[in-house]
């Protein structure tokens, strides 16, 4: 056999061993690294996608929350206004009642004072009449003797 062909045969055999070695020990770590990289990138992308979706969710949730809060606050304001109106109305009614009461009391006072004044006046008139009469007749008039007459006079005033 020609030595070139013979050495080629040997080289081909050892090349086959080399290919086997490469396929068994060198290729797998390489493909593993490649697959790990693909996996990592895929995971990163899906994580980013998830985060994006979560952000969108949170955004819509926040918007809903804000809307609810706004509604609630307007309700609270409405109620507060109602309450204020009620308080105002009640205060007004109370004030009016108080005024009426005070007015009534004042009127009562006035009436009783007028009554008393009238009584006093009546008495004074009686006395003055008696004094006047006694001056006229120059003598003492017994008030008790003319009491009926004086009372009549006082009542007429």
């Amino acid at each position: 056999m020609d030595i070139t062909y013979q050495s080629l045969l040997g080289q081909a055999l050892s090349f086959a061993i080399l290919i086997w070695f490469t396929a068994k020990y060198i290729w797998p770590p390489l493909t593993k690294a490649i697959e790990q990289r693909q996996l990592k990138i895929a995971e990163g992308l899906s994580a980013a996608e998830r985060a994006h979706a979560e952000l969108r969710d949170a955004d819509s949730k926040v918007a809903a929350e804000i809307k609810a809060a706004r509604q609630q606050s307007s309700e609270i304001i409405d109620r507060a206004q109602q309450q204020a109106n009620q308080i105002l109305d009640k205060a007004r009614a109370d004030a009016i009642a108080e005024i009426n009461r005070l007015k009534a009391a004042a009127q009562d006072d006035i009436a009783s004072m007028a009554q008393r004044a009238r009584e006093e006046l009546r008495q004074r008139v009686g006395e003055l009449a008696v004094q006047g009469a006694s001056k006229i007749v120059q003598r003492e008039i017994d008030p008790s003797a003319h009491k009926a007459l004086l009372d009549q006079l006082a009542a007429e005033i």
Partner: protein
């Protein structure tokens, strides 16, 4: 070749170590190294370019993931060594790494494959006169061509970083610094000589390291092939050949890596001031 069993191995090795030389412009031109190197450079450019063109920002395919891993690895290495704008240095490092790696990988292809193919097609006489060495990096011309290119880049970056005057000044004033005009003048020749040695040693060591490794590797393959020429040592020859090839996987990657890292280190040094 077969007619001389005694001188067989010597002739075999001599034959395998002869380049396919053509005369070009009055000098010898190693056509085989040039063709293989150019073809492999083209393979690299097309391969990586294709994936770069088709790259998606989504989940990459297996091919793109591989290219990305290589790219990230090289960029990480450059980032560790070179602090500055990497927009040129990183692609340069990637090109050097992949190209040298491809050229080194040619070492794993069976030694007699091409010769036997030529013999099978064109006959013994043509095969005897045809020389084709498949490993461009086992050709000192290829490695020197690369390292001299790197050398020019070193000079270019030194001048770019320090300015023409700063670069020239540093040639004469570093590494030995002195004060006073007399001392400076005295030290200038020594500084210049040291810098000259330093600058020239870079391309020489870069080229010789790669060439030496690949040439020695190729030579060992040839010697092992010698074992296979006799049936008595055929089986050990095959096993040793396979073992050397497996070990060589380490060497081809390592040498490509070393060439790349040293290039980046030299360029990083060019940016530094003494």
């Amino acid at each position: 070749m077969a007619s001389e069993p005694q001188g067989g191995l010597t002739e075999y090795i001599q034959h395998h170590l002869t380049h396919d030389v053509i005369t070009l412009g009055g000098g010898g031109f190693h056509l085989d190294s040039w063709i293989v190197a150019a073809a492999l450079g083209l393979v690299f450019v097309l391969w990586f370019g294709l994936y770069a063109r088709r790259a998606t920002s989504g989940v990459p395919g297996k091919g793109q993931a591989f290219v990305e891993i290589v790219l990230e690895f090289v960029d990480g290495q450059v980032k560790d060594v070179f602090h500055g704008n990497r927009s040129f240095i990183a692609p340069l490092a990637l090109t050097i790494f992949m190209w040298v790696f491809f050229m080194n990988t040619m070492d794993l292809i069976p030694l007699d494959l091409i010769g036997s193919a030529v013999k099978g097609v064109a006959g013994e006489q043509v095969a005897h006169n045809t020389h084709f060495r498949l490993v461009p990096t086992a050709d000192v011309n290829t490695t020197f061509a690369m390292s001299i290119s790197v050398f020019f880049l070193i000079i270019f970056y030194s001048i770019k970083a320090k300015g023409g005057w700063g670069f020239t000044k540093e040639l004469f004033t570093a590494p030995f610094h002195a004060h006073g005009i007399v001392a400076k003048t005295l030290l200038a020749p020594f500084n210049f000589f040291l810098n000259l040695v330093e600058y020239l040693s870079k391309p020489v060591s870069l080229a010789m390291r790669l060439f030496g490794n690949m040439y020695a590797g190729e030579l060992v393959f040839m010697l092992i092939s010698g074992l296979m020429m006799s049936w008595a040592t055929f089986v050990p020859g095959v096993l040793v050949n396979a073992g050397w090839a497996i070990f060589h996987i380490l060497i081809i990657g390592l040498q490509a890596f070393i060439f790349m890292v040293l290039t980046v280190v030299y360029l990083a040094m060019a940016h530094e001031h003494h």
